[in-house]
Structure formats: structure tokens, C-alpha cells
């Protein structure tokens, strides 16, 4: 019962899930038969709590193991065809260009904001035991880009530590952007952010998508979803049961019943 996506531009890097299943303690949490993500610049993933959205993203990143099925990544830029992500270690998946932010706020104790971002940006060749003078090089390469992000988002103490949940969320997002992903999975990136920062995040996502990045965004703040997405996937009880452009999803009975309530009907 899925309505096909209607927007496809030039071939984009995409993630394919086939027969993917995951259970926790006997309960099936994710059961996705056939899903492709990333063919549109920005795709939304919505659904009630417990629908399995975050678990799905974790399965893609291989930070948890699938019970069955395959997740693969196809990148038209690389000639080798597709890579089976479900057989690849997480850090390699990131190197291939698939990156995810965290729903639950994650941070590095003891690392400053600059530390966090330089960590994300730095390449492996500079992080070797014998490269004890490489910090200068890393700052030369990425300092400007990092400074731009810091200026754009107005951190309270950019030379210190992130001091609120909102700042840590932002830091999470910026770290992932610094990795220059081909497919970016955002898990509730604006949760806990004030209105103006939410706007800025949305604007940034639009820009990156226009530059060629594919974005899949999980959000409970539906104005963000309707405002950004080219298509929306609706997930409930572990499966994607509807797909379509924002307008049709908003009006669909099942979605309204299971999730929206009457607040969002009718545009």
C-alpha cells in the first residue's frame, strides 16, 4: 500500500533496504520489505513514537545488527556498484558517505566545541601517532569552514564547551556536515532548538540538498517536515506504510488517524 515517489532528478546516491527485520526481546521493531532512501534531495520520515524510525537509521548505520535482510548503498560516482552496508563496519560506512546524527544527545566530555568539530573534520592521515605537529595543518584546512558554522549558529562560548542541550544538538549536526556526507540521516535535528535556530538549520539543509547532498530527516516538528521534504515516508509499527509528497500525506486518513490528529489536515 505505498504511493510511489514522484520526484527524481539525476541519479543520486541512495540507500536500499530489502527484507530488513529487527526484533527486540521478541517484539518486531522494524519490518521493512523494500525501501529506497535518497533518490530525492530531502526526504522526511515521520511516524508515532515507537514506530521504529531511529532503529531503522541505526540499522542503516550498522550500529546495531539486522536480524535479516540487506541494506546496501549505491553511489553513481563510484564504479563498483553497490556496497552492502549491513556487512560493513560503521566507521567505514561513514567513510563511504553515509552519516547519521543522534536522537539522544551525544557529546564528548572534555572536548571543546572546536575539538569536537576539528575531530570530525580531520582526516585519518593527520591522526596518526607520529603526526604530533599536524594540528596546524588541520586548522589551516578546516578552520575557516568551522568558523563559518560557528558564526552562523551563534554559540554562547565558541572557544569553550557546548553548554546546553540545544548547543549539543547543533554540534552534532555540524559535526556530521563537516564529514561531507553523500547521504545525511538527521534524527530530530531541531528538537529543543528555539525558533530562529530551527529556521537556520532548515535553511542550511536546503542549501546542502541543493548542492547535491541527499537528506533523510526524522522529525516530530511537522512544520519542518512539510517545509523541507520533497517526499515523506510514514512509518508505523515498524513498517513504512505510506509514501508521497507532503500534501497527500497530510491529508491521508490513516496518517491523520494514527498520528496527526486534526491539527494539520487540509494544508
Amino acid at each position: 500500500m505505498s504511493e510511489s515517489a514522484s520526484i527524481t532528478e539525476t541519479a543520486r546516491p541512495a540507500i536500499h533496504l530489502q527484507g530488513v527485520q529487527k526484533s527486540f526481546e521478541g517484539r518486531m521493531v522494524v519490518d521493512v520489505d523494500d525501501l529506497t532512501l535518497g533518490t530525492n534531495p530531502i526526504e522526511g520520515l515521520i511516524g508515532p513514537n515507537g514506530a521504529g524510525k531511529t532503529t531503522l537509521m541505526r540499522l542503516i548505520m550498522h550500529s546495531i545488527k539486522l536480524d535479516s535482510g540487506t541494506v546496501s548503498f549505491s553511489d553513481p560516482a563510484t564504479p563498483n556498484g553497490s556496497v552492502v552496508l549491513s556487512k560493513t563496519a560503521e566507521h567505514r560506512i561513514v567513510r563511504l558517505g553515509v552519516v547519521k546524527t543522534n536522537q539522544v544527545i551525544q557529546d564528548f566530555p572534555n572536548l571543546t566545541i572546536w575539538d569536537s568539530l576539528l575531530l570530525a573534520a580531520a582526516e585519518a592521515r593527520n591522526e596518526q601517532p607520529d603526526r604530533i605537529y599536524s594540528e596546524r595543518r588541520v586548522i589551516e584546512e578546516y578552520g575557516d569552514e568551522i568558523q563559518q558554522y560557528l558564526d552562523y549558529f551563534t554559540f554562547e562560548n565558541p572557544n569553550g564547551f557546548a553548554n546546553s542541550a540545544g548547543e549539543k544538538k547543533l554540534l552534532d549536526t555540524i559535526r556530521c556536515l563537516l564529514l561531507n556526507p553523500k547521504v545525511l540521516l538527521l534524527d530530530e535535528p531541531t528538537a529543543g532548538l528555539p525558533e530562529d535556530l530551527t529556521e537556520r538549520v532548515m535553511e542550511l539543509i536546503r542549501q546542502k540538498a541543493a548542492e547535491g547532498m541527499s537528506v533523510v530527516i526524522v522529525e516530530h516538528d511537522l512544520t519542518v517536515i512539510w517545509g523541507l521534504s520533497d517526499i515523506v515516508h510514514f512509518m508505523a509499527e515498524g513498517s513504512v506504510i505510506l509514501q508521497g509528497d507532503p500534501a497527500s500525506i497530510r491529508e491521508h486518513e490513516t496518517v491523520v488517524e494514527k498520528y496527526l490528529g486534526s491539527g494539520h489536515v487540509g494544508g
Binding site: 541505526r58 550500529s63 546495531i64 543522534n102 539522544v104 551525544q106
Partner: protein, 290 residues
Amino acid sequence: MMDFLAKALIIGLTEQAPLILAAIGMALIYFLSKVINVAFAETITLGAYFGMWANTTFGVNVYASMIAAAILAGLLSVATYLLVFRPAHLRNVGMVEVIIISLGLSVFLRHALQFVFGYSARFFDVPPAERVSVLGVGVTTFQITAVALVIALALGLYFFIQRTNYGQQVRALASDESLAKVSGINPLVVTLMIWFIAGMAGGLAGTFWGVAANVQPDLGWDRFLLILLVVLVGGAWGIRGVIIAGLGTGVLLSGLKLEIPPLRAEILLLVAFIVILKLRGDRSSETAKV
């Protein structure tokens, strides 16, 4: 072949019954409080010292001194929990740090006891035990007592944890502390009970080893790694697993020592331990947050 196996089984069981006792004690603490208590080695050592002290000071027989040892070691165990491990838990000390703290406690006790009991080895004052032949293997009545105690403790614990009210509280506390507290279980009482029982098991083990050889400050520490092996290898399957692992280790060690030089047998066992730990993998990462 069967004869060799039977021999190894009997020797393993009788020689290593104290190991199983000690492992049960350490495992109780590991399962409930989630800590590897390195200082449990000293609960064992001090159990031996307490028993020896009761025996040589008051002239009581070995069985009475065992009772004294068990009770005093149990109290010591409870004291270490209240003074060291409970504060650590309440202050949310990290896992590696708790192990280092218990190592510190182990070092402290191992040396503090020397100011009380002296630096050199002490001995129980007991008549040599009668020997009995079991399936062609000579064992002492004392060793048979040890085996009997292991069986009694194992059965007793099984009934206590699986069939009684308190046992249910122990299981609830071990699996989810905050949930247990909300259900009205008093974690302190339950925890003190378990630490006391664990201390008793350790103290008894210490006494057996002390009688069989001598009582010296490194009695428990020398055996700590072996006990840790049994707890970590068998621990995945609860107390039952620990008992089986203890039995298996004892039989394996005794069997190996029949064939190859004893030091090499120990080395081989430790290598096997490392391999098993690698296969065991990471038990802590079941819930991914990233």
C-alpha cells in the same frame, strides 16, 4: 581412559571444591552489584586467618573454626561494602575506577593484616585428616566436607534465589535497580544479605585452603585470577554456570597437571582464559545509544 577421567574428576572435585565455593561468593557480588571485587581475595585470606585464630587461640576443632571464619568473613564483606563499595556506587564511580578501588582495598587489607597476624606463614593446629578411598583415589574427610558444603551452598542458594520472597527481590534488584526500588524493594537490606553470604562462602574457601596448606597473606591473591576465570567464564549462565565452570576448571587443571609440568599447566589455562574472554566479547554494549 574412563579411569583417567574418573580419577581427574574426583581429584578435580575434591581439590578444587574450595575454588567453587570462592567462585560462588565472588559471583554473587558480581551478579548483584555488578563489580569485580578484587578485594574478595582478601575476604578469603582473612577467612583463613580468622579460622586459624579461632583454632589456635581457643583450641576449637576445625569445624568450629570454620563457623567462626564464615561469620567473621561475612561481616568483613559487609563492612567493605558499606565503607567502600556503597559510597562508590552512590557517587557513580566509573567501572574501571571501581576495579582500581577494589585493587587498592585488596592491597590495603593484604598488608594491614600483617600487622595483626605477622609477616610469616601461620598454621592451623589440627590433627591430620583421615584418608578415605573414593574410586581408587585417596581423599581426606575434610575434602569430602568441602564438597558437601559446595553442594549444600549451591542447593541452598538455588532455593533461596528461585523460591523465596527475598530471592525474588535479589533477582529484581540484579536485573533493574531503579525499577526494583520503585517496587518498594529495599536495596540495602538485600545487598547486605548477599554480600554477607558471599563473604561466608569466601571465608569457608579460605579456611579449606588454609588447613590444606598454610595461612599466609597471599593466600587469596594467589588464587584470585583462577577465581576470576571461573566467574567470568561461567558467569553467563548464572550460579549454575559458575559451579560447572569451577568444576570444569578444577578437573582441567588437575588433569593437565597429571600430564605436563604444573607451571605450564597454569600458563595453558591462562591462555585458554584469554581466548575465552575474546570469544565472550563485549557484554556491555547491548543497548546502543548512537
